[in-house]
Symmetry: C2
Subunit: 213 residues, 2 copies
């Protein structure tokens, strides 16, 4: 039975799972969820994710939700396929630190910026300049730490591309298309890292799916 | 060389790491960080955690930060000691889902409630009733999902106590001492689970450290 991803291609958490599947060169079926019609809040979807959020995932009788947990499962369960994405022992502990940094330092700030600078303009809503300024200052400080880290190692988790980098891709990619690209330009190591990870063939496949919509 | 935890015992992320160490029956040194004096923003601490947040952790030459990453390291590196806390394969994937739920569904709401109902009153600041009401409603919905989950399995990750439960302990324990205990009373399975996990001997040791302060 082929793996199934339930989601919408414009959803950044869904894109995170798609990126992991493409990095692993795995065959899967994408099942679109009509979020505009509120399908993610309907009973059949709530059976897959009780919080009513995309993506949800099935691999045989295993049902998962929460994008970062799904990506971790894919990386561990299919560790001999495609890009490794995870390491063993102490190296994995460092990767885990930077996965937590993405979730708690980067995403908390970037998700607010993405809402103001990407989703609100698309929906004809006005951007809240004060929220942008507050979070732009926070993001700049986060990127200072990333700059120092990426001066010591090629990728966030170490010298190879792992989930710690991959988890950033969807929101990072959105942000690069906004005026906040300037924050990356001001952090050369971060900018080079960002350019390198968005150029990965697996990510190009996710963007192609998104652009087909 | 003995493991070191750098932190403050009133910090919920530090308590998360201490709970994991006590569950594992490990010997460690607790190095107090004087947060009132801003020690966590000083250069010697920033070398341990560039984000200037407690806890930080050392095991030999391995330096980690982010409480959930540290707890995962402890659980995996010392898997043959004390309480297992993690599983293998597909069971671990389910534990990971509920670890993500704690971080993204529970903690995001509870940290705001904790600020309003625990820390602000302690510092003589006024509680923002509107913020409490908004997040109380959100927490109630989260606990509805927990109630359904805990009707199917003894603990969040499955039939044994794991990191998915442990990660909740510090904030859950704080919340139980506020008027929001009523939300737990209204969710009997959640209430029984909460009572069971806060009664663990390892957690009693963390509370004893906190009360010595």
């Amino acid at each position: 039975m082929v793996m199934k991803v339930y989601g919408a291609v414009f959803s950044t958490p869904a894109q995170r799972v798609l990126a992991a599947l493409y990095e692993k060169d795995l065959v899967f079926e994408f099942v679109p969820v009509d979020m505009w019609a509120g399908e993610h809040k309907q009973e059949h979807f709530l059976a897959l994710n009780p919080f009513g959020q995309v993506p949800a995932f099935e691999d045989g009788d295993l049902r998962l939700f929460e994008s970062r947990a799904i990506a971790q499962y894919i990386a561990h369960a299919y560790k001999d396929k495609g890009t490794p994405l995870v390491c063993e022992g102490k190296l994995m502990a460092i990767v885990s630190v930077w996965m937590e940094v993405e979730a708690h330092q980067f995403d908390t700030v970037v998700s607010k910026l993405q809402w103001e600078l990407v989703y609100k303009p698309k929906s004809g809503m006005a951007t809240d300049v004060a929220v942008v300024e507050e979070n732009e200052a926070k993001l700049s400080k986060v990127l200072d730490v990333y700059e120092a880290r990426l001066s010591q190692s090629k990728y966030l988790g170490g010298d190879c591309f792992t989930l710690a980098d991959l988890h950033h891709l969807p929101t990072l990619s959105n942000l690069m298309g906004t005026p906040l690209k300037k924050l990356f330009d001001a952090h050369p190591k971060v900018n080079a890292w960002a350019a390198k990870i968005v150029a990965r063939p697996a990510w190009a496949k996710v963007l192609a799916m998104k652009n087909q919509q």
